[in-house]
């Protein structure tokens, strides 16, 4: 009711109306600015490798955290993915009397595609979020400012060790994922398709050539770079206190996963092209 203490008086001057075009242009500008900031952060993380100071101990600590810490989820997931692939492909090949080809298909799919991409997405789920929340918490509690105030460059101390560690450990995790995936496939083919373990492994190994391995171990390096830089970018751009940290954590996982899948398309095309030309 007008005149009561609870009445909310509206400002007489109307707020300026924004057209849809203004809103779209604003969003586009913000997006371009974000891409620019992310590109600068990524470039800086690499540039820092060229000059000192370097933080080897921090890099080793991150390799331990990201690499060893991610082993259980990577190995368990890899085993079951390999087994499921055998069951799915095996049921189709059996219809044509070609169950023995299962090893070939599973090996190629795992090494070229599923191993790197799934490892990338699994580690993104664990580490992009971890990096974003850790750096975001440091930012809101002024630890990043404290670091700068004590003469330390946060991009050298916080970003570069995480990026380098992830780029180095992701191919190793992928190799283990591939191996355990083939192991899971072997178990499934022995117990479900009644194939011999030796036959499965022989066909799986023979199906792979050098180009497959190149593709399978180059991709995770790129994925590692993506998931670490996205985690760092989201963490160091937190707005809105602890609630912002939660938001940044979710955004980091989603963005890193989508970028990994999108990068996969281009990397696959490039790898196939180079595979044809070089090998």
């Amino acid at each position: 009711m007008a005149g009561t203490p609870l009445q909310i008086e509206r400002d007489a001057s109307p707020e300026p109306k924004l057209s849809i075009v203004d809103v779209l242009v604003d969003s586009l500008k913000r997006w371009v600015a974000s891409v620019q900031d992310y590109s600068f952060l990524s470039a800086r993380s690499v540039k820092n490798l060229a000059t000192g100071p370097r933080y080897f101990q921090d890099t080793l600590d991150q390799m331990d955290d990201i690499g060893v810490g991610s082993l259980p989820i990577v190995l368990i997931s890899g085993f079951f993915i390999g087994a499921v692939m055998v069951l799915q492909t095996g049921s189709q090949f059996t219809r044509f009397g070609q169950a023995a080809l299962t090893g070939d298909i599973v090996a190629i799919a795992l090494v070229r595609e599923l191993g790197p991409t799934l490892t990338g997405i699994l580690v993104a789920g664990r580490c992009s979020s971890g990096i974003a929340s850790e750096l975001g918490s440091m930012l809101v509690t002024e630890q990043v400012d404290a670091m700068r105030a004590m003469g330390t460059d946060p991009s050298r101390k916080l970003i570069t060790p995480r990026v380098l560690a992830t780029v180095l450990v992701l191919p190793l995790l992928t190799a283990l994922n591939d191996f355990v995936g083939l192991l899971g496939g072997c178990v499934a083919s022995v117990f479900s398709l009644r194939l011999g373990a030796v036959e499965f492994w022989t066909r799986a190994i023979k199906a792979l050539d050098f180009a497959d391995l190149m593709q399978g171990f180059t991709k995770p390096m790129v994925y590692g770079f993506i998931l670490a830089t996205v985690g760092c970018y989201k963490g160091l751009n937190v707005r809105g206190g602890t609630q912002g940290v939660g938001r940044a954590t979710t955004q980091a996982v989603v963005l890193a996963s989508v970028m990994i899948i999108a990068a996969d398309l281009f990397l696959t095309k490039l790898a196939l092209y180079l595979g044809d030309k070089l090998f």
Binding site: P53, M138, T141, E142, Q143, D145, A146, M147, R148, A149, M150, G151, T152, D153
Partner: protein, 279 residues
Amino acid sequence: MTPAAATATTNAGPAVVFDNVYLGFDEGDILRGVSFSVPARETLVLLGETGTGKTLTLKLATGLLKPTRGSVSVLGQEVSIMSERELLHLRERIGFVFQEGALFDSMTVGENVAYRLREEHVKEEEIEPRVNEALQFVELEHTADQLPSELSGGMRRRVSIARALINRPDIVLYDSPTAGLDPITSQTIISLILRLRDVYGVTALMATQRLQDGFALANFSFDKETKHVVRANPAKGAKDGQIAAATRFIVYKDGRIYFEGDPQELSGTKDPYLRRFLV
């Protein structure tokens, strides 16, 4: 420890100079034409309501923020035009005590205090005694192996002071060092600031909302002989050939300097706005 004053006094001119400094964000200017200078060994108390730009002033003084207009000089160097790399070296001569301490929560108290020395590649055998000395200064030597999360708010501030003084800075910036603390703990913190000023002769800028903290710095001093905080006696200092550490006040209002003067001028003011701080 060699008094930092020795280094500070070698710099000709004031330790900190703000010349017509403006600082703005999306929502408008926070600081509007702020000018002041702080001679070496002086303590400048920045008073003002929340959001008037006290913390921003400290961050500008250490180069964590850049002014939108005007210039900021610290120890004879213009921080407002220096690159981040140049600033990292200058910051080695400045200690910053953040409002909540901003201790690195993944490191122990000892590692926090030693952080700066390790960054400067000081020999390990030299680090331990210096860390012990700094922790003894704040009477927290027994907490070296504890994590910051295991300490109370007051203890965290004291560790932050120990971390700030570890490399004998010329200037120490205190951001609301007693905010949210009980009166007894606040008194302990102020005693430490007095000791730091009178034993090591540092120049200090202290942002605070508590006028009594500023008056305590103006009216008391640390007696090196009795090792007690005593009422300041300028006559005794003059007799000993020492100059008593001066304390000045600046009061911010709406992003501008509303008052600048010594404790006597402030306590004798008839201005209604300033009287609100004296209640």
